[in-house]
């Protein structure tokens, strides 16, 4: 079965280790992630200014690309792209005045009014495949791997677009359970990584990372499981800084959830691009005999 898919720019450059294991894994699960043609940047961050419509043009244009191909659903993988696309979609569905303005600005495109449903790959795994069916496809269960799900913000906020409960999300934990791992619950799993704030205050990067990483370690996590390239960037960089500042800080490997999916489905490290990860998450997998 083919799914209309929006990758996002970062997944084609710095975060190929998020995308490539996802594409390979979905194929094993019987789904082809089919890139919508001529997609552009998702807008990078959803603009909160009421009258700043120019920054809605990019996400809406992508939704139009999906509609043009006759799709009623668009699968995203990057948590930030998911957020901007789903919120822009909501705007087009609910705000008639802004919808008209945007449609008439993009007079070269077909009109759009929120017809395409934006979903995240985790929702496809949960709702279309199901945890039990996923568990049955696992060839190399991640037994004994204490992995802490780190949700970040953009899959869960604001409430209108959340893929799970804002306060107590379980989707990543259930995903990890299906793969045979032992998810580690920790209170900072939905705390912000610093997002784009670190650009204007780079010195604070370790202060954003500190509570998240320390809490995960304190709760016994051996690895952190991520969905977002920006979380990955901030937590990796923050970790490097913490190594210098906090004595006894040992660091923690960072995985994308799709890498663990590929490993559990028996696809091996070839599709995972671990060379793009911070530190050497492979050594942890090797210790557990999870690298075929």
């Amino acid at each position: 079965m083919s799914l209309a898919y929006y990758p996002g720019c970062t997944l084609k450059t710095k975060a190929r280790n998020l995308e490539e294991p996802a594409v390979a894994s979905m194929e094993v699960l019987g789904f082809k992630l089919d890139e919508v043609p001529r997609w552009n940047c998702c807008g990078a961050v959803y603009s909160l200014a009421e009258d700043d419509l120019i920054h809605q043009v990019a996400p809406v244009r992508n939704l139009i690309r999906a509609k043009e191909q006759g799709n009623d659903e668009l699968v995203t993988l990057c948590a930030f792209c998911f957020n901007t696309l789903k919120r822009a979609n909501l705007l087009m569905k609910e705000d008639a005045e802004k919808r008209n303005t945007l449609n008439s600005f993009m007079s070269e495109e077909v009109d759009y009014s929120g017809e395409v449903k934006v979903v995240h790959l985790l929702e496809v795994l949960r709702d279309d495949i199901g945890w039990e069916a996923l568990a049955q496809k696992v060839k190399l269960p991640l037994r004994g791997l204490k992995a802490a799900p780190y949700y970040g913000c953009t899959l869960l906020r604001p409430r209108e677009i959340a893929i799970d409960s804002i306060e107590n999300p379980t989707i990543l934990a259930e995903f990890l359970k299906a793969l045979g791992a032992s998810p580690v619950d920790f209170p900072e799993s939905t705390r912000c990584c610093g997002s784009y704030q670190v650009i204007s205050s780079p010195d604070d990067i370790s202060e954003y990372a500190r509570p998240i990483l320390n809490s995960a370690l304190k709760h016994g996590a051996e690895a952190l499981v991520l969905t977002c390239p920006l979380c990955d960037y901030n937590l990796a960089w923050g970790q490097k800084e913490l190594m210098k500042k906090q004595s006894g800080f040992t660091g923690i490997p960072l995985f994308y959830f799709t890498q663990l999916l590929a490993i559990a489905l028996g696809l091996g490290p070839q599709v995972c691009h671990f060379e793009l990860n911070y530190g050497s998450p492979e050594s942890l997998l090797r210790e557990r005999n999870l690298l075929s």
Binding site: R38, C41, I54, V57
Partner: protein, 260 residues
């Protein structure tokens, strides 16, 4: 017929023909001033007809050099149109202005030091990420290039795709003149095509082999012999040479195979 008569007669014919081709004049506005110019002229010719003399903003007059980017508008339509002045013929009531040059940012680089990594483009042109996908660039392209798609390809790290999409770019700069994010698309694409040509596109191995063969001197002797031949003999050799027939198949070979 004497030479004098012939001359007289041809002058009469010319007058007659001129009378037959009644030239219709149409109004156009060049930089806001009204002129009546003959229908059917290109914008460039019409401007020259109106008295303008081009010392810049005019190059090949064949639609390929990109020097004569022009914007115009028709009455009753808010949309700005673009054209190359040497290609587009005038239409009644056109408002015309030329944009022969645009002061766009052009990065300086030492090409030999560049790799094929997309980050090279990101570093030289960080404004790439100011694109908001408004698509004004695409609408402004007289070559019909999907300019915005090519910018998107670069943001996705796909230099080859950007080079492919922008292949027909003639560097007129009209895209840049319309850009909300102040990108210099045409300069960015030139960098992409350079990187693609030098670092990404596969090398033709047979070409390198042939160059090697030439450098080793395989053809030195026959070339030296040809240099000694007199002009008449050279012409004869050329005319009598064995040429590949038009419908030759791939396995065609000349009779003399010594230099293959």
């Amino acid at each position: 017929m004497s030479a004098k008569e012939r001359k007289k007669r041809s002058a009469e014919t010319a007058v007659k023909e001129e009378k037959q081709i009644a030239v219709k004049l149409i109004p156009v506005y060049i930089m806001g001033k009204r002129y009546e110019v003959p229908e059917g002229l290109t914008i460039m010719k019409a401007m020259e007809y109106a008295g303008y003399k081009f010392i810049r903003g005019c190059g090949c007059r064949g639609g390929t050099c990109g020097a004569c980017g022009t914007v115009y508008r028709k009455p009753g339509d808010y949309k700005l149109q673009v054209a190359l002045a040497c290609q587009k013929t005038v239409e009644p009531d056109m408002y015309i202005a030329q944009i022969p040059f645009f002061p766009a940012n052009r990065a300086r680089y030492e090409f030999a030091e560049l790799t094929s990594a997309p980050e090279e483009v990101f570093k030289l042109y960080p404004e790439l990420f100011r694109c908001v996908a408004c698509n004004a660039c695409t609408k402004a392209c007289p070559q019909g290039i999907e300019v915005m798609d090519a910018i998107s390809a670069l943001k996705q790290g796909n230099i080859a795709e950007a080079a492919r999409l922008s292949f027909d770019c003639i560097q007129c700069g009209l895209c840049t003149s319309r850009c909300f994010g102040e990108l210099a698309q045409y300069h960015i694409f030139q960098l992409a095509r350079r990187i693609y040509g030098a670092r990404i596109i596969p090398r033709a191995e047979h070409l390198a082999e042939m160059v090697g063969t030439i450098n080793e001197g395989r053809y030195d002797q026959i070339l030296d012999e040809l240099k000694q031949v007199k002009e008449d003999e050279l012409k004869k050799l050329y005319q009598e040479r064995e040429a590949e027939p038009l419908a030759a198949g791939e396995d065609w070979k000349p009779k003399d195979t010594r230099y293959l």
